[in-house]
């Protein structure tokens, strides 16, 4: 990473909340803050991993960046242009530059559409290629994800999970994007297939200069693929660090607990499993640290003060009073 290079993607205080229920008398809406203020730079050609338990807003973050959800506050800048404030033509260009790969390869392909057709569709929407040019591109895409030309004539249900996920990858690659959000892209796959797909991600990154936002709850996968890792808790940033730093020197109590939950396979190396406090109050207090209700290290001031996002070492950020 070159220090003075401009980041590919700049997130500035991104917030996304959903109304949950309206109290009928007061007409006051309650909101759940799925993403609650994310400020982050993503450099070109890096893989930023995002981890967190389910419901912590990591998928929403990915979708918000791709404009599949409209953000409530803050801004997302891709190559210095605010994605929510661009002209329609530019918006289409952004759709080409930023793509998404989905978790469930069964659900993310239209069951009534042949694979070749599914891969052709982005080309139909965005380019003026002729039929034979599209055909060539489709075949090239299939080849790139280790499928063959005959596969184009099949329906999604005739493929295995791993193959289907490769089709999803091929579709995302069709428009030569620069940035791809991989939303739990390997979580639905068998472990053996996971490894192959992850390797595919890596070789594609090299060949196409791709930048990934890799969302997963799987700590080993994230560690393997990411350059830097962001740990999220209830829509907030808990810790951000280069992958090996985060795994070897976790600072935030939440990160520590997560890492201690990775099963270990050697008897001697038994780690002490850290436990979180159980609480129903998962939404966290409005005033203090969002993690405070479950934090084993919580002190009194955690209830009242929101922890600052501090850089404790170069490139290692954490939001906790006790670090």
């Amino acid at each position: 990473m070159i220090a003075n290079e401009r980041p590919l993607l700049e997130l500035e205080g991104v917030k996304k909340s959903y109304p949950i229920k309206r109290k009928s008398l007061t007409f006051k809406k309650d909101y759940i803050h799925a993403v609650n203020g994310i400020t982050l730079d993503i450099m070109a050609r890096e893989t930023l991993g995002v981890v967190g338990e389910s419901g912590c807003g990591k998928s929403t973050l990915g979708r918000t960046i791709l404009q599949l959800e409209t953000l409530n506050e803050g801004s997302v800048k891709f190559k210095s242009q605010d994605v929510s404030k661009v002209s329609k033509a530019k918006k289409m260009q952004l759709k080409r530059d930023m793509q998404m790969i989905f978790q469930d390869p069964y659900a993310s392909l239209d069951p009534r559409q042949k694979v070749g057709r599914a891969l052709e569709e982005p080309l139909l929407i965005h380019t003026k290629k002729t039929k034979s040019e599209r055909q060539t591109k489709v075949n090239q895409l299939l080849k790139e994800v280790d499928l063959t030309e005959e596969h184009a004539e099949r329906y999604p249900h005739q493929f295995s999970g791993g193959q289907r996920q490769r089709i999803g990858i091929a579709r995302a690659l069709a428009l030569d994007p620069q940035f791809i959000v991989c939303d739990e892209a390997v979580s639905a796959l068998d472990v053996s297939v996971q490894a192959q797909v992850i390797q595919l991600f890596q070789s594609l990154q090299e060949n196409h200069d791709l930048t990934y936002l890799f969302i997963s709850h799987d700590l080993s996968v994230i560690r393997y693929i990411s350059d830097r890792i962001l740990v999220m808790y209830l829509g907030n940033m808990a810790e951000l660090a280069p992958a090996n730093v985060l795994y070897n020197y976790p600072k935030h109590p939440y990160t520590k607990t997560l890492l201690s939950a990775i099963p270990s396979f050697t008897v001697n190396e038994r780690k002490e499993r850290l436990k979180l406090k159980d609480t129903d109050e998962k939404n966290g207090p409005v005033t203090g640290c969002p993690f405070e209700p479950r934090c084993p290290m919580a002190k009194d001031h955690c209830k009242t003060l929101i922890p600052e996002w501090r850089e404790i070492n170069p490139g290692h950020f954490v939001a906790c009073h006790e670090v």
Partner: protein, 300 residues
Amino acid sequence: MGKSHAELEGTQIVEKKQPRSLLNEAIRQVLRNRLALISLVVILIQIFMAIFAPWIVAHDPLAQNLSATYLSPGSDGHWLGTDQYGRDVWSRMAHGARISLFVGISATALGLIGGTILGLTAGYFRRLDGIIMRILDLMFAFPNILLALLIVAILGPSIVNTIIALSIWAIPSIARILRSRVLTVKKQEFITAQRSIGASYPRILFKHILPNCTAPLIVVGAMEIGTAILATAALGYLGLGAQPPAPEWGAMVSEGQEYMFNAPHLVLIPGIVIMISVFAFNLFGDALRDALDPKTDINK
């Protein structure tokens, strides 16, 4: 990576069954179900009767012969007998199939078009959902036959107006079924995937959502034809459908009931045929529902 991924992982799946279209799959399933097969045969006989009516009967359905009235079924030259004017019942039944099927199919087709437009709109555009569904609820609140009577009463009794009335009758249920299907399909990830590659609304709506809604539409269409045939007969019976002397099944029952005790076949034959025909369409619709059930077919 020495071997390609496809070799490593996919060989066992690659040689799976040939792609089968929705239609193929449905036909295969229906042929396996005996009841469905019987109903299909009945429907085909009816269609055959309707198309070839002028060639398979010996008598003009309107030709009166006052010297041969009230003949019982099995009489010489009139195997289903004759009515009070000496008209050949078989000939009238065959020509009646034309009216019933024509009205049933065209009313259903119109209803499907209207219901599809409303259902897609209501399901996809949430803003319009409330308005459209409340209007449909209003139509649901009317007893169907009353609604049809009302429309025919306003427009005047005729076959064309019967078709209009029955298609309006069919719209609410079709629109509702389609809407609920659209709501399910629209939440699926492949729709989000289409949005993320920048697909326009019409493209998503017509190329991705609608094709995934065809199964319930076909099923409800088949059922709706049966309902429409029954309703045509009901309107005919009440004198608001096809006008005499047109050989309409419902009207035949209505005309025949005066002579029910002397010549019961005048009521029984059209009555039973109406029943069989409606029953066949409903059975067939049921079988199609099983054959096309998205839970059993799409992801298999």
